[in-house]
Structures are given as structure tokens and as C-alpha cells.
């Protein structure tokens, strides 16, 4: 019955999505995202994104409600039959300390649970998320699944406990793109901007030799979930004496994974609305000449002759216009 109701809700949403253009921006997350991205040069925008954002959020919400309504045994069936795993799952079986690092993306709560389910409950799980971030739904999900989840508050004491848990070979669940006031941060390149992100993931991984595994969970049709367990980032790879540099490199490696997944399916990230406020443009201060794109096209044509063979117009366009107005 639960599944039937959830499917009905999704069907009702699909039918009303075409009317979503009438919904004011305050009530429409897709419109808010589109508005927030107006000055972010490298990010996708448009009506299609508005529609997909609202679809993703609604699907994630319904999926989470559905999973919360299951009992422990039904949840096992759900993970075996309705969750499609992709990527390298070997890190989940490793004995080394593990950090599951998921962005606030799609149905991340159910995604964490699915990744833990895949680990066959072999190690204790700790949730390490900023004290100001609500985690009621996530802890409820773990309760329903019959899993013990230790919640460690961020801050000095929580960070020490998190490091101790990792040293005992336990698993830490973190959301590096979600942090509150007072959290130690650094900036990394992200969608052509410099974005402020939490430093704790990289710090804890470097101090404990943990493997950082990025996890992305996207809701699909008919109450399904796609869990991508991305290639792990091994903290031991980051050698050298400069600690700050290592923290930066590991964080940058993690967010570069996030960016590549977000580029493919941007509608699932819940952080777009925050992006302008937590990032700075790294575009040049001066405006580009009007013919700069044509110069770049000319350079591409010179570098890739086969491109010109396939689309001869490119060559003509760039030759015709690029030198009209010398710099």
C-alpha cells in the first residue's frame, strides 16, 4: 500500500509538472536554483533544469518517506531489489578506516543506508555532521533499518571522537558540502569558481589513513535508487611535508569528483541555491573582447584539424571574423 501511495504521488507530480511554470519562485525550488545560477558561468540553467530539480526533490522526498515506512526485513528486500549499485564497492569491504563522503545530492540519506547495507554491517557507523544541520530523517532511517548510528557533533570534541573512531577502523559518514558557522573551511575550484568547503574530511582522512569514498544516490522512477560508489581517494597518496597543501589537494580531488557527477546530472544537488553565497567568481576582472570566443575557436580549429574536416563551417566562421578587429 505504501508503494502504491508513493507511486500515485509521483504520477500526480508528473501530471502537474507542466503547470509548474505558474508556481511562484518562492515555492518552486527549480526556479530558485535557476535564479541562483544566473551569474555562475559554468553551471547549466534553463526551464529543463527547473523541471528536473523539482522532479528530483519530489522523487527523493517520496522515496525517503517510502523507505521510512518499511520494516527491517522489507528494507532488506528494497536494497536488494530496487537499488542499483554502480562503481567500485571493494573499499566498502576494506578493513582500513572508511569515510563515506556524500554531497547533499539526490536521496543522500537513503544512499548512505544503501552503502552501509552493502558493507554487510561489518563495522560501526558514525555520523559526523555539523551540529546545526538537521539529521532527524537520517537517524530515523538508520533506526528503521535496525542499525546503530553514533552521532558525533562537529566541533572540537566531536572531531576528536571522529578521529578516534576512524583509528578504531570504524566508518564515518560525512557531507563535506554541508557545514555551519564556525566550521574550519578552505576554498577549492568548483564550477569555475572558488567555493568554501569544510576541511574536516581531508584532515581526518590524512590523520587516520582513511579511504574517502564518494557516494552519490539518485532517485529513479518507480521508487528505485541508483547508488554510485565512486573511485576511492586514498589519503596515503598525498605525500609531502606541507600539511595545508595536502588538505587542499585531497579536498580538491573530492570536489572535482563531485563536480564531474554534478555536471552530468545537476538537478540532484541541493547546494545550488547556496553556491553564489559560498563561492567567488574567478573570472578575469576585465571583460573579454567581443571576438575572444572566435579566437578560441580559431585555436581549436588549428589544434584539431579533424574537427574542421567534419564541420568546415567552423573554419570559415573563425577565419572570417577573428581578425576584423585587431586587439
Amino acid at each position: 500500500m505504501n508503494a502504491l501511495m508513493a507511486r500515485f504521488a509521483i504520477a500526480a507530480l508528473s501530471a502537474t509538472l507542466d503547470l509548474a511554470g505558474l508556481v511562484p519562485a518562492a515555492l518552486h525550488p527549480g526556479k530558485r536554483v535557476n535564479h541562483a545560477l544566473r551569474d555562475v558561468r559554468d553551471a547549466a540553467r534553463g526551464r529543463w533544469l527547473e523541471r528536473r530539480v523539482i522532479e528530483s526533490r519530489w522523487q527523493s522526498f517520496v522515496l525517503q518517506r517510502y523507505v521510512l515506512g518499511l520494516d527491517e526485513s522489507e528494507m532488506g528486500v528494497f536494497f536488494d531489489e530496487r537499488v542499483r549499485y554502480e562503481g567500485s564497492t571493494w573499499p566498502l569491504d576494506e578493513r582500513r578506516p572508511l569515510i563515506l563522503a556524500a554531497p547533499h545530492y539526490g536521496a543522500s540519506g537513503v544512499g548512505f543506508l544503501a552503502a552501509v547495507h552493502r558493507m554487510h554491517r561489518r563495522r560501526p557507523i558514525n555520523l559526523f555532521i555539523d551540529a546545526g544541520i538537521p539529521t532527524r530523517q537520517l537517524t530515523a532511517l538508520f533506526e528503521v533499518a535496525g542499525l546503530d548510528l553514533s552521532r558525533l557533533m562537529s566541533g572540537f570534541a566531536g572531531s576528536v571522537e571522529a578521529a578516534r573512531a576512524l583509528r578504531r577502523g570504524e566508518c564515518l559518514i560525512m557531507m563535506p558540502d554541508v557545514f555551519g558557522y564556525g566550521c574550519q573551511t578552505l576554498v577549492v575550484p568548483f564550477f569555475g569558481r572558488l567555493m568554501r568547503v569544510a576541511a574536516a574530511t581531508a584532515f581526518l582522512a590524512l590523520r587516520t589513513g582513511a579511504i574517502v569514498v564518494p557516494v552519490f544516490a539518485t532517485p529513479g522512477a518507480n521508487l528505485t535508487l541508483h547508488v554510485l560508489v565512486d573511485t576511492p581517494i586514498d589519503a596515503r597518496r598525498f605525500a609531502g611535508d606541507d600539511d595545508q597543501q595536502k588538505i587542499f589537494m585531497l579536498t580538491q580531488a573530492l570536489f572535482s569528483r563531485f563536480e564531474s557527477v554534478f555536471r552530468f546530472a545537476p538537478e540532484h544537488w541541493h547546494g545550488w541555491e547556496r553556491l553564489p553565497g559560498t563561492s567567488t567568481s574567478i573570472d578575469p576582472a576585465y571583460r573579454l573582447d567581443y571576438d575572444e570566443p572566435l579566437r578560441l575557436l580559431r585555436a581549436k580549429c588549428d589544434a584539431l584539424p579533424h574537427l574542421v574536416q567534419e564541420i568546415p563551417e567552423l573554419d570559415l566562421i573563425s577565419k572570417e571574423h577573428v581578425w576584423i578587429r585587431p586587439r
Binding site: 572540537f156 572531531s159 576528536v160 571522537e161 578521529a163 574550519q184 590523520r207
Partner: protein, 73 residues
């Protein structure tokens, strides 16, 4: 060597923070020890003194004296 002296010597060794500055500062942050540096300091203290500091006691740590109290609790 008392606890305060151990902390001061570790702060110099690991973080380059001089004892006078650490003593004068009202908070560790004011002394130039950020939150990640403070975590490193805690683990170094535990290793040097062979103690396990109660994490709950660390929640209230702001200054050098708070840290000494948390260790000696």
C-alpha cells in the same frame, strides 16, 4: 614536567606557538591554534602523557587552562 609545560612545549614543537603567547591568549584560536591544530595537539598530548582525554571535557575547552583542566579531570 607538569601538564601546562607539556602542552606549551608541544605547542612550540608542532605549531610554532610561543608559550608566552599561549599563556596570554584568552582562547586557543587567539593564540594562533585553529581547530584542526588543536586536535593534533590533543593527540600529541595523549601520546606524550599516556592518557586518554575525555572527549566530553573537550567540548568546553577554550583556553590553555581549560585544556589543562580537561586533561587533569
Amino acid at each position: 614536567m607538569d601538564t601546562t609545560t607539556v602542552i606549551e612545549s608541544l605547542a612550540v614543537e608542532m605549531l610554532g606557538v610561543m608559550p608566552e603567547r599561549l599563556r596570554a591568549a584568552k582562547t586557543l584560536d587567539e593564540a594562533g591554534i585553529d581547530s584542526l591544530g588543536a586536535i593534533d595537539l590533543v593527540f600529541a598530548i595523549e601520546s606524550r602523557l599516556g592518557v586518554l582525554i575525555d572527549a566530553d571535557a573537550l567540548g568546553a575547552v577554550q583556553s590553555l587552562q581549560d585544556l589543562v583542566d580537561a586533561i587533569e579531570r
